[in-house]
Point group: C2
Chain length 410, copies 2
């Protein structure tokens, strides 16, 4: 697998994109993105499990059923959530406007919105914006599209990888937004992956659901599961590899690995750019009785406000880690637990051991603090009670998280 | 029921107390408390569900079995948690030291510790301290005892109420500590209630467990369930009311109401004094399908970092409330939900309605902001789908929460 530096979604054959300002954001920053596949494509998606589902989510859950998505229209600045029938009508209109301009069926379009909850979209601006953006899509629009989906994000989140299947170059690329209300449950806040792989529709959904569980579902910024969470993938077959129809084929494995890599990198970028974050935290749990137990422990630690504040303060307060392990509701034996503060090159390379058999041990405090000064802080928790592992990503809890979210938005 | 202004635990007949410095805290502040009943007493307690249980918890779970507790010894400055066999031995020694001085069996003593996790107690200081404090207990020691259990608390948490049963005055009084790592699961961080009621032991435990579920278990400061959570009650019968042996008696009802009141007030004081808190938040949920569903919704909202930061910022961002309702995992119908920002006199007196049938509505923004400027912010969520209600208490998320918890503690 080859990582394409500065690659965007338009590195994928047959994919065009654009990002413009439709004047939805007061700042005048880009707020409308379009991803378009000139070629028929198959698609898969996962959505928020929050019972409060934003209008675009409700519509997409219908539109994804055919599994043939050729375009995604996304606005930022307004989440179109808790907006009732009018909101749902507006989401439908967004797909209709785009369908008319692009010559597609409206069911072939997914729609997303991100921003404030509970305010109706300005459909005049949306209509003008969609008309404009459909004319602007190009092979150079990847960066603009990634910028247009940002809200409190401080950088665009993009990743692009290439693999070879049957002698054909297959590209997998994605873009995402994150920052706040990030604690995905079966999906995450806006992650769009495109690929030119040629694959059976049912296999694409299968792979994507599996991957989501270990990538987007393993990050947390603030424990709040959004009403708009969604991750999707479009595969348009433009690479002309022999169609992947078998789970045991080499092509399947290679593609899954690349898609996993792209989604994991997007998940990490979202965690790293969590609201107010100064550090990316990676918590790896090994030796769990089951995958579910490993995930519970990793998620519990990455979500602990006390642990996150300690990382912000560069305080090797391992008691807070063990405490969060203890209330994770995972099956485990406290007396078997070891905790290490890792280093920034490899989570599994043990750093400073701070707890052994569920108890504190003497450790080199200076070295521990040095590890916590890294931009990426790795924690290793050995449960020593089984064969399963899991990794979760998050960020520290800083003054700026409070500042960003205590600001008056209306 | 009569609330005794400035009442302390020593208002209860037969109860003496003291609070001293045993030099465990570097600051020299009080760090050792003793509560003592001169009369044989019955007791009940609930403990943390965290799998990581501090040494005192493990010991108390044994000692409470006999249900005859006559003294509680508590230190602050060190949690004696994650301290292994040595920690457990030290907890035992604390009860032995106190038993010797007080002429009790060591099983008649409960012990608690609160402060840093993972450091062994200085037993020399503890021994000297216990020897001293046992000589200092008096009818004036209530305030000192309440002060000696504080860590990052900014005020002592005490409440005292009187009722009359069979013509006898019965007093119920309690003290607690809170502040951080507050998200109790079947118990909370150190709440001690004493009463001179005369009651059957089994009834006391029954009442206490029920009450805990709606009081201490309904508060959250930061979502972190501590390793040391414990709430207990001692009843010494000194009021000489006719022994309560029947659940259907008037005495039972009256006593339960008083104990409920005392514990609820302590729970609210803990929430109000959450680390960095500027406001007490009270979330009331009505119309739920079950008590469990009502509690899930109330706890989900009170725990949401985004909601808490919005309250700190006095931002009527109801979308964050509805979002947290949606991911609470309670059974509910989004389209039936109404949300009100209440006022500071009565949670059930509706204030400004901000959402109706699961959607935003136009509201008087100025009035909404004014409500959020109160020291106590009340939220009312009507699910309109059943008969059950619940209330949860918490606090806002401020810069100071981060500051307090990012400070280097070692």
């Amino acid at each position: 697998m080859k990582i394409i530096k500065d690659g965007t979604i338009t590195n994928v054959k047959g994919i065009k994109a654009a990002g413009i300002s439709a004047q939805l954001k007061k700042s005048g920053k880009k707020d409308l993105a379009l991803i378009y596949s000139g070629k028929k494509a198959v698609s898969a998606a996962v959505f928020t499990k929050n019972l409060v589902k934003a209008a675009p989510i409700i519509l997409n859950m219908e539109n994804i059923k055919n599994g043939n998505t050729q375009a995604i229209i996304v606005n930022s600045g307004n989440a179109n959530s808790c907006t009732g029938e009018t909101g749902l009508e507006n989401a439908k209109k967004m797909t209709e406007f785009a369908a008319n301009e692009l010559g597609l069926k409206k069911e072939e379009i997914l729609v997303q919105s991100t921003g404030i909850i509970g305010v109706q979209l300005d459909m005049k601006k949306i209509e003008t914006g969609i008309s404009k953006i459909c004319k602007e899509i190009s092979k150079d629009g990847g960066n603009d599209a990634a910028a247009a989906i940002m809200t409190t994000d401080t950088f665009t989140k993009q990743i692009c990888a290439e693999i070879e299947i049957d002698g054909k170059t297959v590209t997998v690329a994605g873009m995402a937004k994150g920052s706040g209300m990030i604690h995905p449950n079966m999906a995450t806040m806006l992650a769009f992956t495109v690929t030119d792989v040629n694959i059976e529709k049912s296999l694409l959904q299968k792979i994507f659901s599996e991957i989501t569980d270990s990538t987007f579902n393993m990050i947390s910024v603030d424990g709040d599961t959004s009403t708009n969470d969604m991750a999707c993938v479009i595969a348009n077959g433009a690479s002309e590899n022999k169609k992947i129809v078998d789970e045991n084929s080499e092509g399947y494995s290679k593609f899954k690995e690349a898609l996993y890599f792209v989604n994991q990198e997007l998940a990490k970028l979202i965690a790293k750019d969590g609201e107010g974050a100064t550090k990316l935290i990676e918590v790896t749990v090994t030796g769990a009785k089951s995958k579910k137990d490993a995930q519970k422990v990793a998620k519990s630690v990455i979500t602990s406000s006390l642990f996150k504040a300690a990382v912000f303060g560069e305080d090797p307060n391992w008691g807070r880690i063990l405490c969060a392990v203890g209330y994770s509701e995972a099956e485990l034996i406290v007396d078997k637990i070891n905790i290490f503060l890792g280093n920034d090159t490899n989570a599994l390379q043990k750093g400073v051991q701070v707890a052994k058999n569920g108890m504190g041990i003497e450790f080199d405090n200076e070295k521990a603090v040095k590890i916590l000064k890294n931009e990426k802080v790795e924690i290793l928790i050995e449960l020593n009670d089984g064969e399963f592992s899991s990794t979760a990503w998050g960020c520290d809890l800083s003054y700026d998280y409070v500042k960003i979210n205590a600001e008056y938005h209306t």
